[in-house]
C-alpha cells in the first residue's frame, strides 16, 4: 500500500438512510485516505450506490456524521459535495450524448472569458488532461454518442477530475466493458492514486478489486460487514463477508465441485 496519511480525507460515522419502508443503510462507517483506493463491495441491493449517493449529496443521510479532513461537514446537495472536492462517476453514465467531449468534460463549470464560453482554453485543457491520463479519443470535438462504451467511461472519469477533486467515487466503472477497456479504466484508477487522490471503487469483480484496491470495505444488507487490507485477505474471505456466512450459494457450489471432482 502506498503511504497513507493519518487523518482520513473523508470519513462516514454511523451513517443511516431510509427510503420509505426500506432501511437502505444502517450505522455505516467508512474511511478514505489520500492516495488510497477503497473498494466498496457487496451483493446487489447491499446499499453501495445509496452510500455513494449519500456522499455525493444526491440522497443526503438521515443520521450520522460526515467528516472531511477531520471536520464534521454537512452534505445536503450535490453542490456541497463538489465544493468539498468529491467527484462522482455514477453507475448509469451521466453524459450528454449530443454534446462533444469538451462540452461534457466542462458541463456545469464552463470556463468563461469576458462572460463568453472560452472554447479554446477548454479544448486545450481537455486535450492536456486526456493526454496526461493517456486517454485516446478520436477527437475532442465529436459528440459523445460517437464513442465506444469504454471511451465514454474514461471520459466520464476524466470529467470527474476537472474540478481538482480530492476524492473520486467510481460506481461500477468496468461493469459494461471489455477486457482491454477494463484494463484501461483500472490503469486510470492507479493513475488517480498516484496523483494522491482518494478513490472509492464499487465493483462486483473480485479480480478488479484485488488488482487495484488497497482496502476492501464490505457492505451487507445496508450494514458494515468488515474492512480488509487487500494484500492480506484471500478471495474467499471477501466472498464470505459479502454473502454473510460460510454456508452460502457460493461455498456450496465450490464444495459440490470438489466432491464431484473427488468421485
Amino acid at each position: 500500500m502506498i503511504h497513507v496519511s493519518a487523518t482520513p480525507v473523508l470519513a462516514l460515522r454511523g451513517a443511516s438512510k431510509r427510503f420509505g419502508a426500506v432501511q437502505a443503510l444502517t450505522d455505516v462507517h467508512l474511511e478514505v485516505h489520500a492516495g488510497e483506493v477503497v473498494a466498496l463491495v457487496g451483493d446487489n441491493g447491499a446499499g453501495k450506490s445509496t452510500l455513494v449517493k449519500a456522499i455525493a449529496g444526491v440522497h443526503p443521510i438521515d443520521e450520522g456524521v460526515v467528516e472531511w479532513e477531520g471536520r464534521p461537514v454537512s452534505i445536503s446537495k450535490p453542490h456541497d459535495a463538489q465544493e468539498l472536492g468529491v467527484a462522482t462517476v455514477y453507475q448509469d453514465l451521466a453524459l450528454c450524448d449530443n454534446l462533444d467531449v469538451v462540452g461534457n468534460l466542462y458541463l456545469g463549470r464552463e470556463l468563461r472569458r469576458r462572460g463568453v464560453l472560452d472554447e479554446v482554453t477548454m479544448e486545450q485543457k481537455a486535450r492536456e488532461l486526456l493526454s496526461t491520463l493517456s486517454i485516446r479519443i478520436p477527437s475532442v470535438r465529436i459528440p459523445i454518442a460517437g464513442l465506444s462504451g469504454g471511451q465514454r467511461q474514461v471520459v466520464a472519469i476524466a470529467r470527474a477530475l476537472i474540478g481538482d477533486p480530492k476524492i473520486v467515487i467510481l460506481d461500477e466503472p468496468t461493469a459494461a466493458l471489455g477486457v482491454e477497456q477494463t484494463a484501461q479504466v483500472l490503469d486510470l484508477v492507479e493513475r488517480l492514486r498516484e496523483r494522491g487522490l482518494g478513490v472509492i471503487l464499487i465493483s462486483h469483480n473480485m479480480a478488479d478489486v484485488k488488482a487495484v484496491a488497497d482496502t476492501v470495505a464490505v457492505l451487507r444488507l445496508g450494514k458494515n460487514n468488515g474492512t480488509f487490507p487487500v494484500k492480506d485477505t484471500s478471495h474467499e474471505e471477501i466472498i464470505a463477508a459479502i454473502t454473510g456466512a460460510t454456508d452460502n450459494a457460493v461455498t456450496r457450489r465450490a464444495e459440490r465441485r470438489t466432491t464431484e471432482a473427488a468421485k
Binding site: 455514477y90 449530443n98 486535450r127 477527437s139 454518442a145
Partner: protein, 437 residues
Amino acid sequence: MSDTTKTPTPKGTVPAAAEDPTAAAVAAPAVDPRLLVREEGFKGYITEFKRKVKGGELGSIPVVVGLIVIATVFQLNNDRFLSADNLSNIGYYMAATGMLAIGLVFVLLLGEIDLSVGSVSGLASAVFAVVVTKHGMDAWLALLLTIVTGVAIGALHGWFFARIGVPAFVVTLAGFLGWNGLMLWLLGSSGTINIPSDDGPVSLLGKSSFLLDQDIVGAYLLAGLAVLSLLVGSFMDQRRRRAAGVPFRPTSEIVLRVVALAVVAFAAAVMFNNSAGVPNALVIFLVCLVIIDFVLRRTSFGRKVFAVGGGVEAARRAGINVELVRITVFAIAGGFAALGGMFFAGQTSSATMLAGGGNTLMLAIAAAVIGGTSLFGGRGTVWSALLGMLVIQSISTGLSLLNMEASIQYMITGAVLLGAVVIDSVSRRSQKAAGRA
C-alpha cells in the same frame, strides 16, 4: 450575417495530419488509425461531407436543396417569382412568423413543444392595441409591457411544466385556447382595434429601410457589416486557436465561407434596393438570429439548454438547475411570441381577431423543424428559423402568385412539414446506427 452555406459548428482540422500515414506515425504521438480527422484541402471537405451524410448528419442540406427546387418550380410556372418585388415580399412577411420560430427553436432544443405561441402573439398585439388606444400609454412603453406580458405567460407555462410536472404540450394546449380567449375578450365586440401608425414601434415594424432613411446605401452597409464581422471574427478565432495549439479552421475555408456570405448578403441587398428597400422587420429578425445564435453557442446558458435537451439526468447531476432552464426557455418562447405579435400588428397596423390564429402556430413549428432543428431535442440551430421560414414563405407566396387557394396551400405546407419530420426521424435513426445519437 446569415450563415446559410454550412451548419454553424463545423469541426476544425488538425493541420497537416493524417495526410500521409507514415509521416503521421513518425511525427504525431500515436495517432489512432480510425481517427476521423478531416484531410487538408477540398478532398477533405468532400470525404467529410460524405461521412456526415452517411452518418445522418444532414444539417441544412435538405432545406437548401428544397429551396432550390422550390425556386426552380415556381420560376418555371411564373417568371415573377424571382423578381425583386416578390423576393422582397418573402423577406417582409417571413419575419413575423420567424420570430415565433426562434422561440420554438429553444423549446424544441429541450425536446419539448409550445403550442401556445400563435395565441400568445395574437394576445400580445391585442394588449398593445388596448393600452395604446384605450389608455393612451406611450407606444414604446406599451411595447415593453407587451413583451413582458409574453415573457410572463411563457414563464407561467414553464412553471407548470417544470415545477408541477404537467406535460408541456398539455400546458401549452391549454394556453393555446385560454390566451386566444383572453385576446377575444380584450378586443371586445368590434373584433379589431386599429393602431395609429404615424410613428412608434408599429409603424417602424411595418415600414422598409429605416436605416439611413430609404437610402440604398443602408442595405449595402448592413451586408458589408455582416461580411466584415464574419471575416474579422473568423480570423481572430483562428489566431487564438493557432496560438493555443488546438485545431483551427484553415484560411481557405474561412475565405470560402466569407465569400459565400458576401454573395448572399449583397445579392439580397441589391434585390431589396430594386424593390421597396430592406424591411425593418427583417433587419430586426436577422439581428435577433445573430444574437440568439451567439447565446446558444457561446454562453453557458446556451450550453445548459443543449445539455438539458441531450440528457436531463446528466444535466441535473452536472449541477444545472434544470427547472430554471426549462422555465427560462418557455419564457423566451413567450417573449418571442409577443415580439412576433407586434410584427403581425405592424403588417396590418391593427390588432385583429385573426392575429396569431389559423395556421400561424403550425407554420412556426414547421419552420423550425424544416430548418433542421430536431423534434427530439438537443440538436439544432437558431438559423433553422430563417431557413425554414424561407421555405414556408416561398411556398405560400409562390402559390398565391399561381392563384392557388388556401386549401391547396395548407395541404402543400402540411406535406412539407411531414417531409421535414420524416427526414428528422430517419436521420436520427441513421445517426443511431452510426453511433451518433
